[in-house]
Subunit: 139 residues, 2 copies
DNA sequence: ATCACAAACGCAATATACTTGCAATTGAAC
DNA sequence: GTTCAATTGCAAGTATATTGCGTTTGTGAT
């Protein structure tokens, strides 16, 4: 549990979204969670009356605006985390137990060559996989 | 189309897999494709009699052995590409038209701090998103 | 305050991606 | 050739995500 919540309604408006009660609650959950969380995980944290389709649409919309961020842990489904108000970072995931740790960004956003068909890079993903210290011991 | 195909049967055995006709064909398709391809894309390239479950199981098995590699383009489904016989690399994806370009690896496999719960990193993903030159012009 | 309207919602239905169980087959090591 | 684990093929099932559409609501303009 974190204290000193930011003003989520205001934050939503800044990112071009309507500050509906559902989205405010969703942001609060993501803020408090502080690690990427799956849709299933979110559903557990949210009131059962929170419509699933609304949730998916909110996640899509807030990801598009950059307020939140989609992360792939190779678990076959997306995870989401707060993107605004945080340092850009990546994750290390334990392939044995699923433990997740933040890690600073060590990616050089590509030096594009003249031969490249790209001139603009807007974003990147980077996740590291390994074994956490507990899982090394028990292996 | 590439010529000078490697010996896929031998390659499969080297990676601890049985060299079944299906897997040899699958590898050939991945080799010739040369960009990451979706399961749907593979099904189109393969004979319709190639069973879908067999395909999924082959992809899982060959990914686990490191012969092929799973890539996430944030399209909601996995893409696969040849991993053996290639330089380690990443991709730039155009978020407008889907164009894909290989890019060399610019990721420093994380410097782990003493505070980290991790000591071993085995693997990483890294994909870049942007706009390709054609899509910039038409934007 | 209230109006107008695009954004967001809620529900039902549907689509896509992927998995499981199990009996039959087959590649490869001996 | 025999053996056996790996792989296949089919049927069924589950998880994940999307679409369509009528209703509601937040917000900016009046």
């Amino acid at each position: 549990m974190k204290s000193n919540n930011p003003d989520f309604a205001e934050l939503l408006r800044e990112y071009g979204s309507k500050a509906t009660p559902g989205r405010v609650t969703l942001l609060k959950v993501l803020w408090q969670e502080d690690k990427p969380i799956s849709v299933a995980g979110l559903k557990k944290k949210l009131d059962p009356s929170f419509d699933e389709v609304t949730l998916y649409r909110a996640l899509e919309s807030l990801t598009a605006s950059g307020l939140i961020r989609e992360v792939d842990f190779r678990h076959g489904h997306a995870h989401y985390e707060m993107n605004a108000l945080r340092e850009h970072h990546h994750h290390i995931i334990c392939t044995s137990c699923g433990r997740v740790e933040d890690t600073e960004c060590r990616v050089q956003e590509a030096k594009l060559t003249k031969a490249s068909a790209f001139r603009i890079i807007t974003d990147h993903t980077a996740e590291f996989f390994g074994l956490c210290n507990s899982c090394i011991k028990t292996a």
